[in-house]
């Protein structure tokens, strides 16, 4: 009896093993390659990516795309932990702010060889846009959409005050802009301000810094220390502080309150302010949320006339740990160059890098998107060359904003705030260099 039981057990085990091998053989024949793709998403945006992924899988029946799309804040937590544990997706979306942090640690693959082999086709691209994916002369990322800070103006409201806007190609300096805001404020009533305070704008502060820096030394100086001088940082703080004192910017509480609202419900849309710095790719959202005519103008230049515009890219990179790098490169190329895919994407993350795609989208594009495209192409010519932020630099921008609150509350002077930022920044940079 015992022996019988043993035979039955062996038989069952053998059958199971055979079945296992059998299924492996079958699997090998029609095995699908899995490509993991990660981006920061929301319900509406995710639909676009899914459609593009379906288009890619239709052309590559052996590929299965697995997606990860947490919201913006959770996304960075997810990515840093994924890279720490060696389980990052094959294709990962980044923003140019993080290029220095990630590329310097060697967790991304240089894409130059794929470009040379033509797997990623960047001919007829705006080369200034392409350069936003470079770190230390290597290309690590390919842009999905480009944006930069711009100055939004409620032109209807401004005209109602009997004032005219300067021509769009004209540069104005920060000093001229300061006087202009005060002129506007003099015509406004209570609880309405000429502009929204800029101290919380983590992108604009870098433009200010670039306007005051020597080319190539925006982030680090020759000694590898934080490049922005105390004078530059103090002038940034003083600009806001003076306009608050003049009444052309609101107090911190008001600014914080209105800043926390969604774009469609913000102070610009609600006629609480006339001038507002934000990224150019948001033009369509603002304009479609208000009846007044919205215009965009260039960010003011330094008082010596220097431009500082900093292109901001949302871009795909390939993880060093990916086992399907070539397929990942093909996917990126499909995403950014395939006309059907780009019709679906329709400038979701800003202006496309490919001039061909820009032209293809132009006839059906929203007028605000066309204006943003023209604006981005224009400033990409005028701005100093893109230099990726050094590791550690990006992380101090929150400190720049929170220190501004202390200036606004008269706890620190602009000079003390500037000194504090340099100390913190150098500490962060030193930590990253260790």
């Amino acid at each position: 009896m015992k022996r019988e039981k043993m035979f039955v057990a062996l038989g069952v085990a053998g059958a199971l093993m055979a079945a296992g091998f059998g299924s492996q053989v079958v699997k090998a024949e029609d095995e699908k390659v899995t490509l993991r793709v990660a981006w920061w998403g929301n319900t509406e945006r995710d639909k676009l990516y899914y459609q593009i992924n379906d288009l890619f899988m239709a052309e590559h029946p052996n590929v299965e795309i697995v997606t990860e799309s947490p919201g913006w804040n959770d996304y960075w937590t997810a990515q840093s932990t994924a890279y720490a544990s060696g389980s990052a997706a094959d294709v990962v979306q980044f923003q140019s702010n993080q290029i220095g942090e990630y590329c310097s640690k060697g967790v991304l693959t240089p894409l130059d060889s794929y470009v040379e082999e033509g797997i990623i086709d960047l001919t007829d691209w705006n080369q200034n846009f392409v350069d936003t994916g470079r770190y230390n002369d290597n290309l690590y990322m390919v842009t999905l959409g480009m944006t930069a800070q711009t100055l939004y103006v409620n032109e209807t409201f401004l005209n109602e005050l009997g004032m005219e806007l300067w021509p769009e190609e004209e540069d104005i300096t920060w000093d001229e802009f300061y006087d202009y805001l005060n002129e506007v404020q003099a015509k406004l009533g209570d609880d309405t301000y000429a502009g929204l305070d800029i101290y919380t704008n983590n992108d604009l502060v870098w433009v200010w810094i670039r306007e005051n820096a020597a080319d190539g030394y925006e982030w680090l100086d020759e000694n590898g220390e934080f490049a922005p001088t105390e004078e530059t940082l103090a002038s940034w703080y003083a600009f806001s502080d003076n306009l608050r004192a003049d009444g052309a910017f609101a107090n911190v509480e008001w600014t914080q309150e209105w800043n926390s609202k969604a774009w469609e419900e913000g102070p610009l849309v609600n006629r609480k302010i006339l001038f507002y710095f934000a990224n150019a790719n948001q033009f369509k959202t603002y304009q479609n949320s208000m009846e007044d005519t919205l215009a965009i103008r260039k960010v003011p230049v330094g008082n010596d006339g220097k431009h500082g515009d900093l292109l901001i890219t949302s871009a795909f990179g390939i993880s060093e740990t990916s086992e399907n790098k070539e397929l990942a490169a093909e996917y990126i190329n499909f995403f950014v160059n395939n006309e059907e895919a780009q019709k679906v994407f329709n400038m979701e993350l800003g202006v496309p890098g490919s001039m061909k795609i820009q032209e293809m989208l132009a006839p059906t594009a929203d007028p605000s998107d066309i204006a943003a495209t023209d604006y981005l192409n224009m400033i990409s010519e005028e701005a100093p060359a893109f230099v990726a932020k050094a590791p550690g630099v990006w992380a101090i921008q929150d400190e720049i904003a929170s220190t501004a609150e202390m200036v606004a509350m008269d706890i620190l002077t602009p000079e003390q705030a500037a000194q504090h930022i340099r100390e913190v920044a150098n500490e962060m940079i030193a930590e990253n260099a260790e």
Binding site: N73, W76, T77, S80, T81, Y83, A84, E101, Y102, K105, V107, D191, V252, E253, W254, Q256, E257, N259, S260, A395, D398, A401, S402, E405, M406, M409, I411, E423, V424, E427, M428, E431, N432, E434
Partner: protein
């Protein structure tokens, strides 16, 4: 053989929890203790720097002191108020209210919702500059343009209020404890001429004092760990002048926004130490006031 099996059966049943505890709690805690002595940015290998992280928080990180102040203010203001509200409501519900189970469930709901993202967003709507509170004040003739959540003087108090509103969980525990107090004790006291207040103070409160201690310790620990509310309401940056920078949010920002996981680990261990010390103090002080007989 049977005896041996019996002896180990308990461990086998315990195994899933034990594996979870080791893999998901003990090992990560050990790792974090090690990281707290390193410079670790998540993307490259941690580098040993000794106690530098612990020194840094006291010498060059003013956010650390701000986070401590805000968190202590929150814990010491919200926990007593929350326990007081839950205790009073438990007494009220013990009075034989009709539809008790309905009230009990209704009062418990805020505890389930309190720490959620949705309620945090709702809180912004209530206490914002154009929120419900200011509109209500407007109706009774008080013009207010204060953003209660953005004003550094009032921001943390809106979260204290949110915690008070989450009285359901301790209330249920108090109610269960009150129901355990023998009725004959209260009756005897009443016959002896004790007033309701005296009965509550001299009999009821001492009888449920171990449960008060339990709720106090649990709520202190829970209040120190509050994260979602401050994260959502402050937009993740800790609010104006760090007025909503709770300790957990500071840990999160250092670890994930600034990618200083070594420093964040050191902060986390300081939080563990603070909670441990406070718990010991509470237990020590309770010796005189808590009656187990």
């Amino acid at each position: 053989m049977r005896k041996i099996l019996d002896r180990y059966a308990g461990y086998v049943f315990l195994l899933p929890w034990l594996i979870g505890f080791l893999a998901l709690t003990l090992v990560p805690m050990g790792m974090s203790f090690y990281y707290s002595f390193t410079n670790y940015n998540l993307l490259s290998a941690p580098k040993w720097i000794g106690v530098s992280n612990y020194v840094k928080m006291f010498t060059s990180d003013y956010h650390f002191m701000n986070a401590l102040k805000v968190t202590f203010l929150y814990v010491f203001a919200s926990v007593p108020l929350q326990l007081l509200v839950s205790l009073v409501l438990a007494f009220v519900l013990n009075k034989g209210v009709k539809g008790l189970s309905l009230f009990r469930a209704a009062y418990y709901v805020p505890s389930l919702l309190g720490g959620s993202v949705a309620i945090s967003i709702l809180w912004r709507q209530i206490f914002g500059m154009e929120g419900i509170l200011n509109q209500a004040l407007g109706l009774i003739g008080i013009e207010s343009h204060v953003s209660w959540v953005a004003n550094p003087d009032t921001a943390v108090w809106t979260l204290v209020l949110l915690r008070m509103w989450q009285f359901g969980s301790p209330m249920i525990i108090f109610l269960a404890a009150i129901k355990q107090v023998p009725a004959e004790l209260m009756e005897a006291a009443a016959i002896d001429g004790a007033t309701k207040f005296q009965q509550t103070r001299k009999i009821m409160l001492p009888m449920i004092s171990p449960i008060i201690l339990f709720n106090l310790v649990m709520q202190i620990i829970s209040a120190f760990k509050v994260f979602t509310e401050s994260y959502i309401i402050s937009g993740g940056n800790g609010g104006v002048l760090d007025s909503l920078l709770f300790f957990t949010l500071h840990i999160y920002n250092e670890g994930f926004s600034k990618m200083r996981m070594g420093y964040a680990s050191a902060l986390a261990w300081v939080l563990v130490l603070i909670i441990a010390v406070l718990t010991v103090i509470v237990f020590f002080l309770s010796k005189r006031h808590v009656h187990y007989d």
